[in-house]
């Protein structure tokens, strides 16, 4: 209660007017007779909401945050679109509630909160063996996959959970269903049953995984390449073979991914390596005509692989015997042909390189061997087989860090007084001329 000078009560004339708010309504009252001198108008209350932010009011405890409810609804929505099991949805909701309260996510933009909802669904799908890709979540949220990735990593840290990596063979079935090329969507000569297409695409993806095409790459373009080749090879007639990837994507009503073109080339190369070993094919197998053989190649995949490894090894041994070996280093090519069907990597080689001194630059010996180990094995990651040429670093002279620094060296970094004067004069001229121009 405060006394206000300069006011007198109309009822009794005293000047003892105090501020006595009634139920938060401002009122000036005479302390002697109780006359209400003036009242605050309720209409003066802030119209656009409270002056205090929501998080500092007591409403937080009475009613949960609107955005939290909205976020939970979004999680349920996404789960329904993806047709997830009940337990996956529940886990996602739990994670969302947990993550939302954390300081990294409580005061961020609404878009980020929406992305968080998608990421919770993603992590619970992965943990409960229902694989979906980050790309799918990005599409559903209409958000940049990089943003989704960033929020996902942060969320994993906040929740302190792990999620198994998605295996591409699990995702491909769902991916194949996106392609609209059943007999109800397209003319008969282009149609394929989803079942057959999936089966062949899975076999192609497994082959790609074994030949180092999958590791380290984005899964979506590989899947697209596999589906395209599967579709072509199921009925390798001229009208399908002449279809480019662009036209195929238009036909199937999916969006083309540019890297898929490179993946198609890489897959065809891998198929050719196996196709060469087919005994009943007379002509040479090239990327141009390999699509017709894909069916046979996939059916007899493992046998062809064994033959290819054996041929490759024989070729390597022949090369070793005929070429001259470098004196300072020895090469031992030890081969292991695995009887087990699934092992697919080729010969293991030990190269004990002799290393002299403490050079920091790339040594000449290793320079020779480094790009070649990719060519020595039958299948290697494409970046290794077509390695970029590295700049040869000039070996820096031995530096100790405590050497003498000569004056002349330092002077080269300092302008002479004349240069300084000229420089500052030029700056002034430039400043004044640009100032004049901008007027």
């Amino acid at each position: 209660m405060t006394s206000l000078a300069g006011l007198s009560c109309p009822g009794c004339g005293s000047s003892n007017i105090v501020d006595d708010d009634l139920y938060s309504q401002a009122q000036l009252v005479c302390a002697d007779c109780g006359f209400v001198v003036s009242e605050g108008v309720l209409a003066d209350e802030p119209v656009r909401g409270l002056d205090i932010s929501y998080s500092r009011t007591t409403a937080v405890t009475k009613r949960p945050c609107v955005n939290l409810i909205r976020g939970l609804e979004r999680v349920k929505e996404i789960s329904r679109i993806l047709r997830l099991r009940g337990e996956v949805e529940d886990l996602a909701l739990t994670y969302f509630k947990q993550a939302y309260e954390h300081e990294s996510f409580i005061r961020v933009s609404l878009q980020r909160k929406e992305v968080l909802a998608g990421c919770c669904v993603l992590v619970s799908c992965r943990q409960l063996n229902w694989p979906i890709t980050v790309g799918t979540v990005g599409c559903l949220l209409n958000a940049d996959p990089t943003l989704v990735g960033g929020v996902y990593q942060e969320m994993l840290k906040v929740l302190n959970v792990e999620a198994p990596t998605v295996n591409i063979t699990d995702v491909i079935e769902a991916h194949c269903q996106e392609y609209k090329i059943s007999s109800s969507d397209v003319p008969e000569e282009f149609a394929e049953e989803s079942k057959d297409l999936t089966k062949r695409a899975v076999a192609l993806v497994e082959l790609a995984a074994d030949s180092w095409i999958v590791t380290g790459r984005r899964p979506l373009p590989i899947m697209m390449a596999a589906v395209y080749l599967a579709w072509q090879s199921l009925k390798p007639l001229k009208h399908r073979l002449s279809f480019s990837l662009d036209k195929f994507c238009q036909l199937a009503k999916v969006q083309k991914h540019k890297p898929a073109v490179t993946r198609i080339t890489e897959l065809k190369e891998a198929l050719c390596k196996l196709g060469k070993e087919i005994p009943w094919v007379g002509e040479s197998v090239t990327p141009g005509n390999v699509v017709q053989q894909v069916g046979d190649i996939l059916e007899h995949r493992y046998a062809l692989l064994r033959r290819a490894l054996r041929t490759h090894e024989d070729a390597m041994q022949a090369e070793c015997r005929s070429s001259s070996v470098n004196p300072p280093s020895e090469e031992m090519v030890s081969s292991q042909i695995s009887e087990r069907v699934a092992q697919t990597a080729s010969s293991v080689e030990q190269l004990p390189l002799s290393n002299e001194g403490g050079k920091q630059a790339v040594e000449e010996h290793s320079q020779e061997f480094e790009p070649n180990w990719g060519k020595r094995v039958l299948f290697a990651p494409p970046c290794v087989s077509h390695a970029k040429r590295r700049r040869v670093e000039q070996p820096t002279p031995d530096v100790t860090g405590d050497e003498e620094i000569s004056d002349s060296e330092i002077d080269s970094y300092i302008r002479s007084p004349r240069e300084v004067r000229e420089f500052s004069q030029t700056q002034k001229i430039l400043a004044s001329s640009s100032g004049g121009k901008s007027q």
Partner: protein, 189 residues
Amino acid sequence: MDSSGDEALDIIITNVVATFRTRCHLNLRTIALEGTNVIYKPEDGKVLMKLRKPKITASIWSSGKIICTGATSEDEAKLGARRLARCLQKLGFKVNFSAFKVVNVLAVCSMPFAVHLIDFTKNNRPIASYEPELHPAAMYRIKTLKATVQVFSTGSLTVTGPNVQNVAAAVEHIYPLLFECQKPKPLCK
């Protein structure tokens, strides 16, 4: 510098970041005016100075704190820092070269074999993490050495750590883990 004779792997140091203090206030305008190879960045409150030999870029703040990047060895970083300090001395500042510390070392290394990243991540969870859709390499953080290794499927590694010794130790640490993930694991089905 190689890690250990028996492995005979070439670890190439590509960047060394070091900091030091001059223990005196520096007038950035003077440095920008009287120094060659200098870029003044008033919006960041710093000056960039580039040395030719060793090839180093230094960020200089008016408080006297300086960060040097671009060196290819710890000794080179020290030499570059001292050269810079001498340069500032000649410009008239009462420089006292102190608190030199190598803060970060970045090195690359190449294995003579390819690495199957999914197997590698499975074997080394949760220290290793791999998201093919986001980044092509698997990330392996060694807490004890405070080093991070990025493993690519081609067998290339990029290692970052607080000093060259840690970086070499990190490569030694991770080599056996990578060696056993060369071949894709047989299918268990």
